[in-house]
């Protein structure tokens, strides 16, 4: 059982999606996350155990390697794909409530802004660390964030912006969210913003990079 979980952890960490996947070259001809998850479930490993002892630690290692500049984003994306293959097998257990994520994280690029590279990275890393992610996409107005929180009570909201002309919209959105849902925590991120701006507009947290978001979320979850 331990060996199977260790193999699954390695497959996700190195980005081996399934048996036929050519990446990474050193795992060619071996089972990927898909097959290893199926085998684990068949041999009686609990879905929560798979999540907590293989998938989350694998993505945690990936996040650390990325923040230490030891891997590039494409490798991280391959790990996310491998985790996605595994999560598909676990989906029924999420639906039945047998396993739970750490919480729900709602993310979107603010209205007027269509840049989503940074937002997508954050979403991927947060999902990889065991959170349910609701990605609202780009050009998101206040009403859609509020609607999403109403659909996912207790969720944390993250706003992304790349432009100096759209970061100003963050202030309005934070005010709207706080006016309607006063206990909701709102994160902000993006090239033009900083901690000072975060405090000025009444948001709760600013992170300069995706790993910073994950670390803060995990502190909250624990």
């Amino acid at each position: 059982m331990e060996e199977l979980l260790e193999k699954l952890l390695e497959a996700v960490e190195l980005g081996k999606v399934d048996f036929k996947s050519p990446y990474p070259p050193q795992l060619k001809g071996q089972d990927g996350a898909l097959e290893l998850t199926i085998k684990a479930l068949e041999t009686g490993v609990g879905p929560q155990q798979i999540l907590e002892n293989a998938l989350v630690p694998a993505m945690d290692r990936v996040g650390k390697k990325f923040s230490e500049n030891k891997i590039f984003v494409p490798q991280m994306l391959m790990s996310a794909k491998a985790m996605g293959a595994s999560m598909l097998q676990l989906k029924p257990f999420f639906t039945s409530g047998e396993i739970k994520t750490k919480g729900t994280f709602i993310i979107g690029t603010v209205k007027g802004d269509l840049h989503d590279i940074g937002k997508n990275l954050v979403a991927m890393m947060v999902e990889g660390s065991g959170w349910t992610v609701v990605d609202l996409g780009v050009d998101v107005p206040s009403a859609r964030y509020i609607e999403a929180v109403n659909n996912h009570p207790g969720a944390i909201v993250a706003l992304s912006a790349l432009l100096t002309t759209t970061m100003v919209n963050m202030g309005e959105i934070v005010s709207d969210i706080k006016a309607n849902l006063s206990t909701t925590k709102v994160f902000i991120g993006g090239a033009p913003v900083n901690n000072e701006f975060c405090q000025k507009i009444g948001a709760d947290f600013y992170a300069p990079d995706p790993q910073g978001v994950v670390e803060y979320l995990n502190r909250i979850a624990s």
Binding site: N69, F72, V73, P74, L77, I117, T165, P192
Partner: protein, 458 residues
């Protein structure tokens, strides 16, 4: 591609301030005619643009133009280009952009009439079409305000016309993050090329109608995104260098449609365009650190005809307003290059060699921009019978050059970079030269929800 041979074949002729086909402007600048001019770019501080702030917006641009030209005059400038790169609201409501051009042009005219300082405005409407997903490149309602801003803006004094067009960006964004070189070729050499043909045909027609100058485009949304991501260590630098080379086949379409330069500052593909077409180019390097970081600070100026700062907010620094301060930095750089040109061929080559040598082996993106390597790669960019083949050949030559530099020990890269070299080579080699074959190969594997084939004439 229409171009079959290089206009500049000798690296020594790829020199700052000198282009085979200089561009003469209304107030007497001769860009590429023997000297380098400063091109100042600027933007608003953090603020909203709405009916309540419109007068403040206009005042900012008045202050920027006045401050910059006053400083240029004080420094005995030989001429200046001011670039107005509009923000979303200024293009969506073209009257705002047009009014700003008018304000700036009045100031340019004042300094010309009163002091003889020649200046021109480069008008660069932002490409609104990217604000729709999937983008409607040919049928978007956003095309109308963009073209209105081009036409009325040029009538009000925007003499040099540019855009950072975004055709193919909806496909390239994900490809950049995945280091997917084949999809990058598809985005730039198939989608980008088609959109450039569509858009630049219109821009050139308008410029010709009003006697203005269709200047050029920039693959900023593609290759500069790659450069910035590489600076953040999100993607390999070797990959970003190849994206730059591939972007040439897309940006050169503006010239094929009739653009004459100066090509746009943030298009670091400019040296290749200059070698192939002979047009003058604008470049930016260390002076653009106010807008984004780059590994190309000095080498970018090796063959520039305009020297730019990319963009700076109109905020107060210790010395004065930031655009005024950047005007001074650009002027001193231009002054040094111009002094070298006046001193003759040998001094100008020595200065160029220093600019190149100080950067060239520090980063693969700098390596491909040395005049020698620009010529080597440009030859490959013209060898094939399709944009796809040319993009592939150019990128393969860039890979050769990177591997030569590594083998010689002149350039050092970590293993996490070099491990991508064989992968990228294999991927490039798998691309067929025939465009139809390539499209057939790519369509099944590309996420077609991201773009609309018909909007590219496919």
């Amino acid at each position: 591609m229409k171009y079959k041979s290089l206009v500049i074949t000798n690296p020594e002729d790829l020199m700052f301030g000198i282009a085979p086909y200089p561009v003469k402007t209304r107030r007497g600048l001769e860009i590429g005619g023997g000297q380098v001019y400063a091109e100042l770019n600027f933007t608003l501080p953090v603020m909203s643009i709405n009916n309540n702030t419109l007068q403040q917006v206009y005042e900012h641009y008045r202050e920027i133009a006045e401050g910059a030209l006053e400083r240029a005059l004080h420094l005995n400038s030989k001429g200046v280009v001011l670039e107005l790169e509009t923000l979303l609201e200024m293009t969506k409501t073209p009257q705002i952009g047009i009014e700003i051009v008018k304000i700036m042009n009045e100031i340019c005219e004042k300094y010309y009439q009163k002091h003889g300082l020649a200046s021109e405005i480069r008008l660069t409407p932002n490409d609104l079409r990217e604000f729709e997903r999937p983008a409607k490149q040919r049928t978007s309602a956003y095309l109308e305000p963009m073209m209105e801003l081009f036409e009325k803006g040029m009538i009000e004094g925007g003499d040099l016309l540019s855009i950072e067009s975004t055709g193919g960006k909806e496909v390239s964004d994900d490809a950049l993050m995945n280091c997917d070189i084949k999809t990058i070729v598809f985005a730039l050499a198939v989608l980008g090329v088609r959109d450039m043909q569509f858009l630049w045909g219109k821009i050139v027609a308008l410029a010709n109608k009003h006697g203005k100058i269709a200047a050029g485009d920039s693959a900023c949304g593609f290759a500069n995104t790659a450069m910035v991501l590489a600076e953040k260590k999100y993607i390999p630098k070797v990959f970003a260098a190849l994206v730059r080379v591939i972007s040439v086949v897309r940006s050169i379409v503006a010239m094929e449609e009739g653009a004459v330069g100066p090509d746009k500052d943030c298009g670091y593909e400019g040296p290749f365009l200059k070698a192939i077409t002979g047009i003058p180019i604008s470049m930016e390097g260390k002076t653009a650190a106010c807008a984004h970081l780059s590994p190309l600070g000095n080498i970018a100026s090796a063959c520039c005809d305009l020297w730019s700062n990319e963009s700076v907010q109109n905020i107060k620094l210790l010395s004065g307003m930031a655009p005024t301060a950047y005007m001074e930095q650009l002027e001193y750089d231009a002054r040094l290059m111009n002094q070298a040109l006046i001193a003759g061929t040998v001094p100008s080559h020595i200065l160029q060699q220093l600019l190149v040598a100080s950067d060239v082996y520090t980063d693969p993106q700098a390596l491909i921009l040395s005049p020698e390597n620009v010529i080597r790669i440009s030859k490959e960019l013209l060898k094939g019978d399709s944009y796809v083949a040319n993009a592939k050949n150019g990128a393969l030559k860039a890979l050769d050059i990177i591997e030569e530099a590594l083998a010689s020990g002149k350039m050092k890269l970590p293993e996490m970079e070099t491990s991508y070299l064989p992968i990228l080579r294999d991927e490039l080699n798998s691309i067929p030269d025939n465009e139809s074959d390539f499209i057939e190969m790519m369509l099944p594997v590309i996420d077609k929800s991201k773009f609309i084939l018909a909007e590219y004439g496919l």
